[in-house]
């Protein structure tokens, strides 16, 4: 047994391949046997992943979900930003450059719409919870954009660590909400073609949420959503601590 642990410890990434494969197998079976293929296996597997992340946090009190368990650290490596971005780029092979070029304007419009909707809604919710200073409001509003924009903005503005932690949590909840809600609402909002996926990526913005949600909806749409979502965090980091903060400061001062 000791030998097995040694092998696992030295080959965390390989163990992660095996674990994800098993999880996918079970999810695919559930999709066929219980849901009659109405919910795709990949969607069940992603939800199961979130569940495991919750369990991991419950057991270790850490902040990397299942990957905090020494045994499963390879899962964290496989799900880290390097593999995530590398594999997203590879999905571009299935995309059409022509379609992306044609959708440039709607992509830009959706990015601006998305940043505004999330920031304003986040600020208003923080306001109803009693926050009145421009720095905290701005940081939480930025957290509603993505869990990267939140701490970047909070850091730039000198927000308290409690507010920054809150903004990260808000961003992670958003990612989870987008992942779960995308496959449920996709048909109703007309998210079934590449142009719509580009607009969707721009509106929602969270790369992880958009691509996970689209993967669970229709894997062919993933590259289109990713290509616009990748600009969202940058746009948020640019606007939140500068223009949006100045506007908030004017509003709260009066």
């Amino acid at each position: 047994m000791q030998e097995l642990f040694k092998v696992i410890d030295q080959n965390g990434l390989i163990l992660a391949f095996l674990l994800i494969g098993l999880l996918y197998f079970v999810s695919d079976w559930l999709s066929r046997a219980i849901f009659k293929r109405r919910i795709p296996g990949s969607a069940i597997a992603i939800f199961a992943g979130l569940g495991l992340g919750y369990l991991g946090g419950l057991i270790t009190n850490g902040n990397k979900g299942l990957a905090d368990l020494e045994l499963f650290k390879g899962v964290g490596f496989l799900g880290g930003s390097m593999f995530r971005d590398f594999t997203i780029v590879a999905t571009a092979m299935g995309a059409s450059f022509f379609l992306i070029k044609k959708s440039g304007w709607i992509g830009l419009a959706s990015l601006i719409t998305g940043t505004l909707v999330f920031f304003i809604a986040g600020v208003l919710i923080a306001w109803t919870f009693g926050y009145r200073d421009a720095v905290s409001l701005c940081t939480i509003g930025a957290g509603a954009c993505t869990y990267i924009v939140g701490p970047v903005t909070g850091g730039a503005l000198g927000a308290s660590s409690e507010v920054i932690a809150l903004s990260i949590a808000t961003g992670v909840v958003k990612t989870i909400a987008v992942t779960v809600l995308t496959p449920i609402f996709a048909k109703r909002i007309g998210l079934d073609n590449p142009t719509a996926a580009i607009a969707y990526g721009g509106v929602m913005g969270t790369s992880s949420g958009v691509t996970a949600g689209l993967a669970a909806t229709d894997p062919k749409l993933v590259p289109y959503g990713a290509v616009s979502a990748t600009f969202y965090t940058g746009l948020g980091c640019l606007l939140c601590p500068s223009l949006f903060y100045l506007i908030l400061e004017l509003l709260t001062a009066s």
Partner: protein, 124 residues
């Protein structure tokens, strides 16, 4: 196969580099659109190679393999998110995380409907 993988790695690194440069030009400590640039570079390389008939199936396989690995990576990513703290850090984080998403669904629908006539006109 390795040529495909190398081409992918090349596009990825160049794209990330472009994203970092754009980030520092804008004066923010974040990668702006690195993945998007990388995807566009990869697509341009693909178009060029297809035109010259240099893109064989082995090479495509080297790239598509990683593209197919995407969903397993997302599952691993979901399993390594801080789900517990996100759900336990209070009602504010949950509301501020969920309500804007629902609003954004409406915003998305409006956006799509307003853009539809124009994109249709473009295809005729």
């Amino acid at each position: 196969m390795i040529y495909g993988l190398a081409l992918l790695a090349f596009s990825f690194l160049m794209g990330q580099w472009a994203g970092e440069i754009l980030g520092s030009i804008l004066g923010i400590d974040a990668n702006v659109g690195g993945v998007g640039f990388a995807m566009i570079i990869l697509l341009l390389c693909k178009e060029r190679l297809t035109k010259r008939n240099l893109l064989d199936s082995e090479m495509t396989f080297g790239i598509n393999f990683w593209g197919k690995l995407y969903i397993p990576v997302v599952i691993a990513m979901a399993a390594s998110l801080n789900v517990r703290s996100a759900l336990s850090s209070g009602i504010l984080a949950i509301l501020a995380g969920v309500i804007p998403v629902i609003l954004a669904f409406f915003a998305f629908k409006l956006l799509i409907e307003n853009f539809k006539p124009r994109t249709d006109a473009g295809t005729i």
